[in-house]
C-alpha cells in the first residue's frame, strides 16, 4: 500500500480523499494555489505545497508543478480527484512516467472514454445500448423514412455540422418527417453552409441514470447500483438519489450487471461511472466518466462501502476483496449539492463564511471544506458542501433530508440551501416523478 499520497485537487473532494487516506494510515500531501493557503485540505494534510497563483491553469492544472511537488515531498501516488486533471490521459501518463502511481484508470481507458465517438463505439460493441439512429448522414428523404420507421418516432433530425441547437428538428410522427427534414436542412445550410443531417431517436422525458462501477487490475469488476441524477440545471446535477425512484429491482440489476460486464471486458481498473438516459423502460448510453464522481457518496451510503478507499486499493494493485453478491443494498440515499450562489438568480456568491453549522445526527453526512471564517474564493467552482442523507426507505430519507436542511446554517454568503428546502417539498420530487427537464421547467415557472 502507498505510504504517501499527493492530492492534486482542492475543496471538499480534496478533503474527502484526505479522509480516506488518513483512515488507511496513508500520509497526505495537499497542493494548493495561493488563494487556497488557508483551505481545509491544506490545514489537515500532513504536508502541503503551494504550486502556483490562483488561476487553475497555473496551479491545479499545472502539470510540472504538481509532479515537482510530488517529487519534492516523496509521494508515491497521486490522486487527481474530480475535475482538474482527473480525466487528462496525458497527465495520467506523465504521472506514471515519473514513477508515481496514478489513482485512476490507465491512460488508455481515459483516452477511449474521453472521445465521444470512440466511447460510444466501444461500449456498443461490448453490448451497451446507445441512442439508435442513422449511421452517419442520411442520403435523402426516403432514407430518412426508412431509418425513422426502424427506430420509431419521435425522432430528431440533426445537422451533421451542428451545435447549439441549430439545424435540429423533432419529427413527432412519420407525417411530420418531411417538414422536419426540410426545416432542419434549411437551417443547417444557413447556419453551417452544409445541409447534411443525421437522425437519432428523440427522448422526450428521459431520466439521467448512472451506474457506479469498480474494477481491479486482476480482471474483476462490480457495480454499486445506480444513481438518479435527473435533477439538473444547465447540465449541472443539483440533487442525486440512489436507488432511482424510476427503476424497478430487475431493471436495476440488469443494467448494473451489463455495465459491470463492459468494464470487466475492458479490463478497467479503478472507479468509474457509465451514464445513461432512461426512458420507457430502455437505457441509452451517454458517456463514461473514468474517475470518482461528486455523487459517489450516495452509493457509499446504500452499500456501506468507502469508494475512495476501494479506488486507492485497486490503484495499489490489490484485488477486490468481494464479489458482486457481497455488495448488499440497504435503504435509500439523497445528496444535495450546496453552491455559493444566490438561490434565485444563481449569481455566484464568494466571500467570508460567517457562521457555519452543519446538521448532525443519525444517517446525516456532510462533506464540506467550509469552516467559520473561511473565505470562499471566487476563482473556482461554486459547490461548497454536499449534504448526504440516508434512510431505511425513500420516505424516511426524504423526511430526514428535510430536517437536516432545516438545521444547516451557512452564513455570510448566499447559498442554494433555500432552493433545496423548496425543491424537496415539491410533490413531483416527493413522488419521484421527474426527468432531466423537470428542474429547469420548475425554475421557469417560478
Amino acid at each position: 500500500m502507498f505510504e504517501k499520497v499527493l492530492i492534486a485537487n482542492r475543496g471538499e473532494i480534496a478533503l474527502r480523499i484526505h479522509r480516506a487516506c488518513r483512515e488507511m494510515g496513508i500520509r497526505t500531501v495537499a497542493i494548493h494555489s495561493t488563494a487556497d493557503a488557508d483551505a481545509m485540505h491544506v490545514r489537515l494534510a500532513d504536508e502541503s505545497v503551494c504550486v502556483g497563483p490562483p488561476a487553475s491553469k497555473d496551479s491545479y492544472l499545472n502539470i510540472p508543478a504538481i509532479l515537482t511537488a510530488a517529487a519534492i515531498t516523496g509521494a508515491d501516488a497521486i490522486h487527481p480527484g474530480i475535475g482538474f486533471m482527473s480525466e487528462n490521459a496525458k497527465f495520467a501518463e506523465m504521472v506514471e512516467q515519473h514513477g508515481f502511481a496514478f489513482i485512476g484508470p490507465t491512460p488508455d481507458h481515459i483516452r477511449i472514454m474521453g472521445d465521444k465517438v470512440t466511447a460510444k463505439k466501444t461500449v456498443k460493441d461490448l453490448g451497451l445500448p446507445t441512442v439508435p439512429g442513422s449511421d452517419g448522414a442520411l442520403k435523402d428523404l426516403d432514407d430518412a423514412r426508412k431509418v425513422g420507421d426502424a427506430i420509431g418516432y419521435p425522432v430528431l433530425i440533426k445537422a451533421a455540422a451542428g451545435g447549439g441547437g441549430k439545424g435540429m428538428k423533432v419529427a413527432r410522427t412519420a407525417a411530420d418527417l418531411e417538414d422536419s427534414w426540410n426545416l432542419a436542412r434549411g437551417e443547417a445550410r444557413a447556419a453551417f453552409g452544409n445541409d447534411e443531417v443525421y437522425m437519432e431517436k428523440y427522448l422526450e422525458k428521459p431520466r439521467h441514470i448512472e451506474v457506479q462501477l469498480l474494477g481491479d487490475s486482476h480482471g474483476n469488476a462490480v457495480h454499486f447500483g445506480e444513481r438518479d441524477c435527473s435533477i439538473q440545471r444547465r447540465h449541472q446535477k443539483v440533487i442525486e438519489e440512489a436507488p432511482s425512484p424510476g427503476l424497478n429491482a430487475s431493471e436495476r440489476m440488469e443494467i448494473g450487471n451489463l455495465a459491470a460486464d463492459v468494464i470487466r471486458k475492458l479490463g478497467y481498473r479503478g472507479v468509474g461511472t457509465i451514464e445513461f438516459l432512461y426512458e420507457g423502460g430502455k437505457f441509452y448510453f451517454i458517456e463514461m466518466n473514468t474517475r470518482l464522481q461528486i455523487e459517489h457518496t450516495i452509493s457509499e451510503m446504500i452499500t456501506g462501502i468507502d469508494l475512495v478507499r476501494e479506488q486507492i486499493r485497486v490503484a495499489a494493485g490489490l484485488p477486490l476483496s468481494y464479489a458482486q453478491k457481497d455488495i448488499v443494498f440497504s435503504g435509500h440515499s439523497i445528496e444535495c449539492r450546496i453552491n455559493a450562489e444566490n438561490p434565485e438568480t444563481f449569481a455566484p456568491s464568494p466571500g467570508v463564511i460567517k457562521g457555519y453549522h452543519p446538521p448532525g445526527g443519525l444517517d446525516v453526512r456532510v462533506d464540506s471544506a467550509l469552516y467559520d471564517g473561511y473565505r470562499v474564493p471566487s476563482n473556482y467552482d461554486s459547490m461548497i458542501a454536499k449534504l448526504i442523507v440516508h434512510g431505511s426507505n425513500r420516505n424516511e430519507c426524504l423526511l430526514r433530508l428535510r430536517r437536516a436542511l432545516e438545521e444547516f446554517v451557512i452564513g455570510g454568503i448566499d447559498t442554494t440551501l433555500p432552493l433545496h428546502r423548496h425543491l424537496i417539498a415539491q410533490t413531483d420530487f416527493i413522488n419521484g416523478d421527474y426527468d432531466i427537464h423537470w428542474l429547469e421547467k420548475f425554475l421557469d415557472k417560478k
Binding site: D38, M40, D46, E47, S48, V49, L67, I72
Partner: protein, 148 residues
C-alpha cells in the same frame, strides 16, 4: 500663518497603540481642544474554527506565512521546485549576501521536472538576504532572496 504640515504626536499614538494592546480595547479616542487622536486596534476577530494542521513538512514550514518583514525587493519563487545555489556541486554560489547584482544576473537555479530554471535578478542592487538553502525545496511564491 497656519502650518501646512500636521504636527504629528507620534509618541502619543505609540502610547495609545500600546494601551490598546495592553487593555484589550478595540478603539481609543482622545481629544484635547480641537485636536483628536483615534486609534483602532487590528484585532479583527476572525473566528477560525478549522483544525490546525497536524504536521508540517519542511516545505510547508518554510512557507511564505512565516516570512519575516523584509526591506528591499523580495524575489519570490515563480515555481515549486528544488533550489540550487550554484551551477554544479562544488562550484561557487551564483550570489552571496553582500554581492552587487545587475538586472538579469542569475541568482540561483530552480529545478522542476529535471529542468534547470535559472532565476534572474529583477533589478540591480545588493543581495541583503538569501532565504533558501541549496538543494532544499521551495514552494510557489516563497521568497528566494532580497535585493536592496
Amino acid at each position: 500663518m497656519p502650518p501646512s504640515k500636521f504636527d504629528l504626536d507620534i509618541e502619543a499614538i505609540r502610547k495609545l497603540a500600546k494601551l490598546l494592546d495592553e487593555t484589550g480595547l478595540s478603539e481609543i479616542e482622545y481629544a484635547e481642544g480641537d485636536r483628536k487622536i483615534r486609534c483602532v486596534g487590528a484585532r479583527a476577530a476572525v473566528q477560525v474554527a478549522a483544525p490546525a494542521a497536524i504536521a508540517a513538512s519542511p516545505v510547508a514550514a518554510a512557507s511564505a506565512a512565516a516570512a519575516p518583514v523584509v526591506n528591499g525587493t523580495a524575489v519570490p519563487s515563480p515555481m515549486v521546485g528544488t533550489v540550487y545555489m550554484a551551477a554544479s556541486p562544488g562550484s561557487p554560489a551564483f550570489v552571496k549576501v553582500g554581492d552587487r547584482v545587475k538586472q538579469g544576473d542569475t541568482l540561483l537555479i530552480i529545478e522542476a521536472m529535471k529542468v534547470m530554471n535559472p532565476i534572474k535578478s529583477p533589478k540591480a542592487g545588493t543581495i541583503t538576504q538569501i532565504m533558501v538553502e541549496d538543494t532544499h525545496p521551495v514552494e510557489f511564491g516563497e521568497t528566494l532572496v532580497v535585493i536592496e
